[in-house]
Point group: D5
Chain length 96, copies 10
Amino acid sequence: MLFHVKMIVRLPPDMDPARADKLKADEKALAQRLMEEGKWRHLWRIAGEYANFSVFDVGSVQELHDTLTQLPLFPYMDIEVKAICRHPSSIRQDDR
Amino acid sequence: MLFHVKMIVRLPPDMDPARADKLKADEKALAQRLMEEGKWRHLWRIAGEYANFSVFDVGSVQELHDTLTQLPLFPYMDIEVKAICRHPSSIRQDDR
Amino acid sequence: MLFHVKMIVRLPPDMDPARADKLKADEKALAQRLMEEGKWRHLWRIAGEYANFSVFDVGSVQELHDTLTQLPLFPYMDIEVKAICRHPSSIRQDDR
Amino acid sequence: MLFHVKMIVRLPPDMDPARADKLKADEKALAQRLMEEGKWRHLWRIAGEYANFSVFDVGSVQELHDTLTQLPLFPYMDIEVKAICRHPSSIRQDDR
Amino acid sequence: MLFHVKMIVRLPPDMDPARADKLKADEKALAQRLMEEGKWRHLWRIAGEYANFSVFDVGSVQELHDTLTQLPLFPYMDIEVKAICRHPSSIRQDDR
Amino acid sequence: MLFHVKMIVRLPPDMDPARADKLKADEKALAQRLMEEGKWRHLWRIAGEYANFSVFDVGSVQELHDTLTQLPLFPYMDIEVKAICRHPSSIRQDDR
Amino acid sequence: MLFHVKMIVRLPPDMDPARADKLKADEKALAQRLMEEGKWRHLWRIAGEYANFSVFDVGSVQELHDTLTQLPLFPYMDIEVKAICRHPSSIRQDDR
Amino acid sequence: MLFHVKMIVRLPPDMDPARADKLKADEKALAQRLMEEGKWRHLWRIAGEYANFSVFDVGSVQELHDTLTQLPLFPYMDIEVKAICRHPSSIRQDDR
Amino acid sequence: MLFHVKMIVRLPPDMDPARADKLKADEKALAQRLMEEGKWRHLWRIAGEYANFSVFDVGSVQELHDTLTQLPLFPYMDIEVKAICRHPSSIRQDDR
Amino acid sequence: MLFHVKMIVRLPPDMDPARADKLKADEKALAQRLMEEGKWRHLWRIAGEYANFSVFDVGSVQELHDTLTQLPLFPYMDIEVKAICRHPSSIRQDDR
């Protein structure tokens, strides 16, 4: 089941750099693990913004919520979730 | 080069059904050709809306514009384009 | 799997009354069938508006989309879908 | 009498964790008491957001206001209240 | 029980004048009856706009909804309803 | 002359409680004096929000401005002012 | 008493030209009479828009409303009214 | 050349009062000098808001920008600039 | 003197094609003449939208207004004008 | 390849002046180098705002993103990016 997620990160500019770097490193590690597991299907950077478009492939809404809220940067993010499904014109087999 | 595009279709509800069907059929045919060519990489339906999220892979901004404006449904669409690129955390090789 | 849906109906005021009534009757019949099937769990009228809040219980995002788009009033509606899940404070067993 | 309430919680990310946990624990305790009393009828988590949709069943607008404003997290919440009532298509007897 | 209601009327400028006048006359007659019954407590014109602020005093949310939706101008109105109650600083006995 | 005023109070949640209480007490005292003088005609609490709808009856725009800006909570408020006047359908003699 | 008014005119582009010209001529005639009477103090065109900023000097809110609603273009206008008064830094004697 | 400018001042409520007063005094002094020079033509207070509508009469866009950005309160202001010019219906000779 | 202008064109999709083509041809001819005269300095198409960003170089606000309002597509356009001037970091001599 | 970028700078007014000046100086130095390299084609100040409109000429979306995010003021900016291309009416050869 696919969900389109837009994440805008708003880290306070005057945050302690070490702490910010730690948060980002943890975020990256978790994100890459989720991608390897196939849950985090797509992750693109929005040009010029500290934001991304992502597509998650999860088994339930609960799993999506748990996945997003455990992200280290979650407390600093504006998140917009849209449920998506296969478009009748799509030729891709796997865009459920 | 990737562009994230959100398309909201606003066909007048009282449009002549035959004309609407023709527009949709032409739109589908063109969309599928573009997908086969690899230009229209992703196309998902936004659940509950006559709208989609798409990702286009084109050689230039001009090509993106020409592609979108030749869509039969273009005159009836609100379109939002965001340039996207590879996220530093992405493990996918091909999400330029 | 639960989805919270807000529907705002914008029927043209000068629509042929007979046609409007037919649309509404068909909408009511389908809605009640979906409620009997347990798919359309909650349906409340928003006071003072031709709009409702609903909660749908469906097996997939695709099913949600198909359900909403087959509603007779769909072409005249602004629809906002939010995926919802069980709140950690909820005492209800069934609010997956 | 039913009210649909959307609550978005904006706890400062750098709040003292102990204090945040205390607030959340108190919030949960009060919420569950209100649910047991039947006042807080529905409480769903909005996927990906520190926010919820709720339905309150109260005897008056004053009671709704008092209930919401005594929530420990109230000072940190954006709240939108919509009065709701029985939809003519609803088959549920109790969705006054 | 009090509700604050903002009504913005959007009559099509090219509506048949006779029909518009009939609608307005019916609206006025019903409004005044509701005011005499004490349901429509306050009705003020917003300067420079075809809009009003009103306060309704009704026994239930359902009654509010039925009252508003039976207004002849209802199909041409954007309506925003806010439940209101007695302010702790108010010296008026009757602003429940 | 009547003005409809919406006030949203945004006191910082971490303000010193004593100071907040002093501000609120001063606000209440001044508000009640203005109500007794007939300037602050109506004051209703918007359910679920730290906000109110008010109607002021003043002799000039200047008086309205001076009245609002001397409120102790003024620096913490978002205020929207709308000039209102008698509605042609109103049966009240005094809703100038 | 001064009111700042922003008027955006939305004449249907396909309106009968003769009718549009008549409306505009009547609007101009009335506007100029009101300016000669000193009620319509300032009238500026917003560059690039079929819109204006105006300042009205009237005796009451009712007079403002009557003045605006009798404008021939009123049915085709979005109007925003803001009550204004003398700024403490102003050196002009007459900007009540 | 005329520019319509809306300025909303957002001084932090907990700013050191002496510093706030100094800023306001400097702002007033500069504003009055600019008014005497004829650059700051109109300055009205928006009732109920720490905001104003102004009209500037300057020789160039650069001069407008320099004038606004040297205002002591500039760092605390949201500013909206609209270029304005003579309205064809205006009877004033000098509203270039 | 430079003005940044965003133009969004909203031609009715069901406009008579011949009339639409005539409007567009006239628009193009006038636009190119204005570019040759140096008034219309820059004109870029916004990818995916029937809209453009432009920079006009004119002698006065009046000239800007007259230029924009004589465009054949003006009645079908949403226009946003922003006065711009030389940026202190710009190395271009001519970006007054 | 051209991108239109709007940058709004929101430096905290109470930032240490020396640090703010350093940031601005670094920003100016980098901006001017990018302009000399032809990447930062246009840079205009929006009158009355701490904001600019820019046009970037880059080889890829990635290059645009890297360029913008390395700007010293990036953490304090709201940035809106729009991909632009040659307008069919443009007479300029180089507005790809």
